[in-house]
Symmetry: D2
Amino acid sequence: MSFSLGRLFKITVFGESHGFGVGVVVDGCPAGLRLSESDVQVELERRRPKDSITSTSRREVDKVRILSGVFNGSTTGAPICMLIPNEDVRSDYYELIKNIPRPGHADYVARIKYGGYNDYRGGGIFSGRITAAIVAAGAVALKLLRHVGVKVLAHTVNIGGVEVEGLDTNDIDKLEKAVEESPVGCADPKKSEEMLRVITEVALRGDSVGGIAEVLIYNVPPGIGEPLFDTLEGDLAKAFFAVPGVKGVEFGVGFKAASMLGSQYNDQFVVVGGRVVTLTNNCGGVQGGISNGMPIVCRVVFRPPSSIKIPQRSVDLSRLEEVEVRLNGRFDPCILPRALPVLKSVAAIVLVDHLIISQVIPRVLR
Amino acid sequence: MSFSLGRLFKITVFGESHGFGVGVVVDGCPAGLRLSESDVQVELERRRPKDSITSTSRREVDKVRILSGVFNGSTTGAPICMLIPNEDVRSDYYELIKNIPRPGHADYVARIKYGGYNDYRGGGIFSGRITAAIVAAGAVALKLLRHVGVKVLAHTVNIGGVEVEGLDTNDIDKLEKAVEESPVGCADPKKSEEMLRVITEVALRGDSVGGIAEVLIYNVPPGIGEPLFDTLEGDLAKAFFAVPGVKGVEFGVGFKAASMLGSQYNDQFVVVGGRVVTLTNNCGGVQGGISNGMPIVCRVVFRPPSSIKIPQRSVDLSRLEEVEVRLNGRFDPCILPRALPVLKSVAAIVLVDHLIISQVIPRVLR
Amino acid sequence: MSFSLGRLFKITVFGESHGFGVGVVVDGCPAGLRLSESDVQVELERRRPKDSITSTSRREVDKVRILSGVFNGSTTGAPICMLIPNEDVRSDYYELIKNIPRPGHADYVARIKYGGYNDYRGGGIFSGRITAAIVAAGAVALKLLRHVGVKVLAHTVNIGGVEVEGLDTNDIDKLEKAVEESPVGCADPKKSEEMLRVITEVALRGDSVGGIAEVLIYNVPPGIGEPLFDTLEGDLAKAFFAVPGVKGVEFGVGFKAASMLGSQYNDQFVVVGGRVVTLTNNCGGVQGGISNGMPIVCRVVFRPPSSIKIPQRSVDLSRLEEVEVRLNGRFDPCILPRALPVLKSVAAIVLVDHLIISQVIPRVLR
Amino acid sequence: MSFSLGRLFKITVFGESHGFGVGVVVDGCPAGLRLSESDVQVELERRRPKDSITSTSRREVDKVRILSGVFNGSTTGAPICMLIPNEDVRSDYYELIKNIPRPGHADYVARIKYGGYNDYRGGGIFSGRITAAIVAAGAVALKLLRHVGVKVLAHTVNIGGVEVEGLDTNDIDKLEKAVEESPVGCADPKKSEEMLRVITEVALRGDSVGGIAEVLIYNVPPGIGEPLFDTLEGDLAKAFFAVPGVKGVEFGVGFKAASMLGSQYNDQFVVVGGRVVTLTNNCGGVQGGISNGMPIVCRVVFRPPSSIKIPQRSVDLSRLEEVEVRLNGRFDPCILPRALPVLKSVAAIVLVDHLIISQVIPRVLR
């Protein structure tokens, strides 16, 4: 069940970095949703490197093909299979290092787990390439969310310690525009420049750098999510951890809550325009695992990408001998800019699943 | 499915704060495990307040009764149902405020979600009381883990900003002993005192305070966890978010990774005593969602407990009118000390499920 | 996951024949359903032996207690745990034969599967006693079905070859009344008498006899059930096979279809009173796994109860030696009369799950 | 979840009759299984019509392509995606009758369920074409079963009332050979001829005919299957009901048990060659839902195929008016011969899932 996510809206991902390509089956999409390959293509484009500085990795074309589940321009209720073929890539290099796990990568654990039968070329199923399939599924989820007015946005708030602070996140359209315009997906133009500088410097040294993204979800009605185990927070967090490089997730003020008092933290209720809202949103829109009607706010930390050109220590597992490994290739020095659409996608997939379970998304759309 | 956790080792929790009690059904425990009520009782005792300062809440006796699944002192392979009756508690107070959601609590979302039919007394199913059932299930999981040599430990590393640093976590037994001896579950005696002071002060003002706990899991063989969606990190995070008050989860160096370079972060491989290990453990023992054989290290942040005696703004939902709410009762000013066994329990439950899926825990124990 | 049934409406069963008792947790019942212990008790009474001839088994009182999930007389949306304690029963006898599997029973497979750790007293979890828990959960499902006008009925159509034919099943109330009045649950009074005679004769010889029950489900709207794997037929069949003694399930004309032509079998469409209906109902109300609006008709065959007083061959597994086994006790010579409410219950549970997935049962009832 | 089957070995099916093609994702196949496209192709060939008399349907070439999960000739542990493109087919005919549900088919329920958005061409996802994807997944399962010595066989035992009796099913190889040689998959040569004659006559009249298949599973070790809900019988039955046309499933003597006495039915235990076996196999190798080591025997009834050339009554749903419908095309007069490999496949998939859960199939094959 490892490659599936969701209960009533369920995606199943397949494919490898150096094989035929990647793909996804979306089972449980309600019938009657207008859907075309270009709807999906648009989201895939967001995952492509915007800039030769922030990403020097291979220029994947990522042309999606919808194989099933759509008829006369609408979803039919049947599973939607989407394929994204790989471009031709050279795998020779991986033969050279197939016994030498790259530090930071999943090479070592994959070899142990699959007894050496795993496809080690480019990380196989552990490659970031698989996120193209997730984004394709996310495109379907995002279109469904538009039908119920829910909006998802992901932006960069920290790269290498350069942190965005005091950003106004109330004007969604303005925020979205600023994010789109930044090469690093950062809504603060000054910080965006600084981040770009950090990435450039790091890239020149053949190194990489980490960062933090924030995901904002607007207009989720109160009462979505389930208590105890299938909480919105738990399901979102689990989905975020599927994105390669994620090492932490927090909601609202997150880890800052450790130093706060209850009298500071508690979001007090008031009536505004006949609706119950909270004065603050320290909890990030989720209480007891369930949406309270305020924007859902979460942050996700990415470790620096594992592929760096600086020599590192590793072990030749065929001889159990320590060796030095020097990686060659075109690597992303920072994954944040390209990870934003992936975060948006997994958040949308989780939300749609919960909105179907809560009977907010109808079975047949009109 | 909201009240169930796990796939092959699955727990289903039930009960309320002011009803008959709480309980759990553990389905999928292998046959042949020696199990008695006192095995479970021991873990439940750890959840009780140690100290009149750190917790002024009701002195729950938490006497567990095993109703099924154990025969002649061993598990049978059948579901294990365990009941923990509530002591008599007064619920009158909750009638007075049933239309006024307490800030920070799930009162508001519960009312929306369940159309007002939820049991609002003491938070009903959202009460921390439900964690007694989780701890009972955790006791079974912890016993199973002992059979495969896996050890789980939870300790306090931050309360109200008082942070433990540079703790040696290699000597497990010593660490465990120090944690047991501290009234706040903190292994650093000096910091433990400081934390106790913070809690005392906060309690005197009728306020509450947050904190951070660290969960350490030792001796997990490499190769446990599944790639992509059912990662160890994702499943642990989802389970931690089931613990009331948790608002963030991070693995290894966690959010600090944002400011790190790949050359600093990557855990390089070396051979020690014929085994492949990593020089550092910045990733917290999990790569690509799968254990690498190093200790699993994660941290969990708790917001300050929602119940405080300081007046707060809320809304009388029956009239949609703003009111002031002043809570009376015996509240925990800091949840960390009592949450540690709960974190340990959910971690153990997740681990056992993964170890069964990976066919490491045998079906019939000897 | 073996002891759970359902996805959004999910029951988890526990307990043994000779332990504390049996019970069930119902997770996913919408909030706002009026529910009392007497609602459940009524269904449990139907499971009790009506007659000293058709059943000589122990007179279980089956007093249910609702432990959670109900508040002020309504379901809260939280898990409903129900307990049915066992009466004191003597288990000495089972010690004598614990190494000698009773033919027909699950003693042998249980011993193999659980390495001898299973509770062998009275069949443990394999006992028909567990069906009391299923009936308790079924009572909740049946109450939910009443809210959407769906009606479930189970009746005996064959005992020991005495077969009901040409029964009019259109007048549901009349049919239900006739079933209630018959000691064997057969709506045809003449056949009912014959069946009773068969059972009496069989019981006198210390033998047992099989039979066939029919389950009828009225007023299911068209479009319920999912294509391919989660069909109504598949989910109902799987649930029926959970009832001890069931060895076959068929829908509509069932196995008779083997000898039919397409021109005879196909249910042709006509318009009656502005509604599309079929002229015949050979398919039993399900096409492509999905309800077509006609009554759902299925039949379930029960093997003769395994416990008989006639000597049988078995093996003493402790010595791997053939022995003769003679069972003593009070046994049901025919399970049909007592199995009817169990069939009704599992059918109701499956239906409710599908009606929630299809968004027909609302989350909050009014 | 409707298009997925299995828990640890899970298949997800997609595709339509007149779209791009059909396909399947197999998640949970252990790493290290030798697998090639020709392994799958062999099973797909068995699904093709053998004979111009038993099947006049389109001559699908069914060329499978493995897109993922196989590397250097072995499975990697990653999801295996397999595609089977459709040949060009004409869909014009279906435009003419898109408002007129064909009797027996799922056209009517599909239209209701999906609000008219379903792909109605050739039945869309309800088409028997989808079984090609199931057979592809079954090929993987069958190869896994060979590693643990389990053998699955399906043969025709009844067509249009011509019934096989007294067949010796002990010599598996001989039985398999006889089944392969018969154009209708019947191991009794004389009955095979009679069945062929029935089919020929029925086809000439433009009619269709039903039948019964038997599935035999040899060498399943005792103790496989789970008690109560996830029984071998229940899981096999549910999977069989996914095969278009199946309307009933029985185990062992099945519905004949209704007329049997316990003293006749009970399978008594004896010791043969140091092993515990049963004298008879009336229960069909499954007791209490769990394998007892004897061959698993089940029978599945197929209704006559729905497509016939004889005029039938239906309703034009766009005008709610009764009409006569006359179908044109090339139809299978009897589905049995082509359904046998599908039954074998779903049985194999269910068995593999249970054998992995029971930890009999190792995670990494050698």
